[in-house]
Assembly symmetry: C2
DNA sequence: CGAAATTTTGACCAGATGGACAAACGTTAG
DNA sequence: CTAACGTTTGTCCATCTGGTCAAAATTTCG
């Protein structure tokens, strides 16, 4: 009774309906939040997208913020998964290429997640700063150390591992976050489904060899 | 009387006060919009930031959307300036390096502009799609052709000029749009003012030579 | 089955927000 | 100086929005 549960109805245990409906709401909220941002989204919109009434939705999540918080918490794991897979053993250049490919696949397959995250960071990460400074930073530090090891071993060029990770994030997430711009600029011909493969080819080349002709 | 002016009080000509106050409002709106997004910002916030009352502000801009529209229109020129300077003559690799440096300087010196733009694109560019498909696309097409010329001449590696431009946008704007994340991950030591120089060094290296050790 | 617990709904509320308006106040040019 | 024009303010309004609540409907389980 006194322990700090933040979620809506669960004094003891989640029922089947609660699990189902909460998932439904989170899916709807992902759709709405990622398209309109937190403040740009209304509970009514989410409720409608989830096929239920507003008071009904509020039975499962007391407050709008709770939905967002739960969503972000679940999201972060998915979001960091590709980086988690970056493996110390195995050929460095292959590993990095694979990481870039995985991140690009995520931008293609989970653009809503990417935009939700981008939205949050853009606003100064008011609701997830602890996660950034905690879980995310820890993982980046760990993988930056791995990359540093590769550099010391002469397997890849000596540069800044942090900025390397940033540049991979930036270039890949760009295809989710700035999708409308990418499609508009490429035009109807080249902006179709093939754009991710083109991007993959380009990025692989860029990160391995740069632009200077050999 | 019948020509299509959208702006507030100007049946004929702007007065001195109108020019000054409108500039004041646009500056305040840049601050507020870039931090909270369009829907997340209120006229009251902008009015307060501009040091005037809400009705007074509404005397200069009839509607919230008008402020945003004017802001975006003025912004786009500044924003595309670095790309405009990309010059056909001159050494390609030097030109590209200079472009990257200029874009990074813009991310450093005009982060609010970058975030405002990112916010708008993230939401699907509902208010500036015409500018994207028009002015922006035209310029990119033009400069992509220049880059293509360099490739044909063997001055730089043969890849996709559009994705090259995207990757420069993405990596540089990242330092404005995702600033809080960058600073949080780098930590208090390395997240200080030096981060832009580190980024500049890293990006120059990446775009020229890639990661593969020679 | 039938009581208890869970879920759903309609009605309602308070505060925020975009915007209208007329009256008061300032400025400027003839 | 003063009339015309430009600027500022206080007040007001309709709508939107997050959230409450009690009653009704449904599900669960002994």
């Amino acid at each position: 009774m006194t322990d700090g549960f933040v979620e809506a109805p669960a004094p003891r245990r989640r029922t089947r309906i609660q699990r189902e409906k909460r998932d439904l709401i989170l899916e709807a909220a992902l759709e709405v939040f990622s398209a309109n941002g937190f403040r740009g989204s209304t509970i009514d919109q989410i409720a409608e997208a989830a096929g239920m009434s507003k008071p009904n939705l509020l039975y499962y999540f007391r407050r709008k913020e709770d939905i967002h918080e739960t969503l972000m918490q679940r999201l972060l794991d998915t979001w960091l998964a590709p980086l988690r897979e970056l493996d110390d053993v195995g050929d460095p250049l292959t590993e990095l290429s694979a990481y870039i490919r995985r991140k690009l696949e995520m931008a293609r397959d989970f653009p809503r997640e990417s935009r939700l995250f981008a939205n949050e960071i853009l606003q100064g990460a008011p609701r997830i700063m602890p996660l950034i400074e905690g879980e995310l930073k820890t993982l980046v530090d760990e993988k930056a150390a791995v990359v540093k090891g590769w550099m010391r071993a002469g397997k890849i060029v000596r540069t800044d591992p942090y900025h390397l990770i940033f540049s991979i994030w930036a270039t890949t997430q760009h295809y989710a976050d700035f999708d409308v711009q990418v499609r508009a600029v490429l035009g109807p011909d080249r902006g179709g489904d093939g754009r991710f493969e083109d991007a993959a080819r380009f990025l692989e080349r860029l990160f391995l060899d740069g632009l200077k002709p050999s």
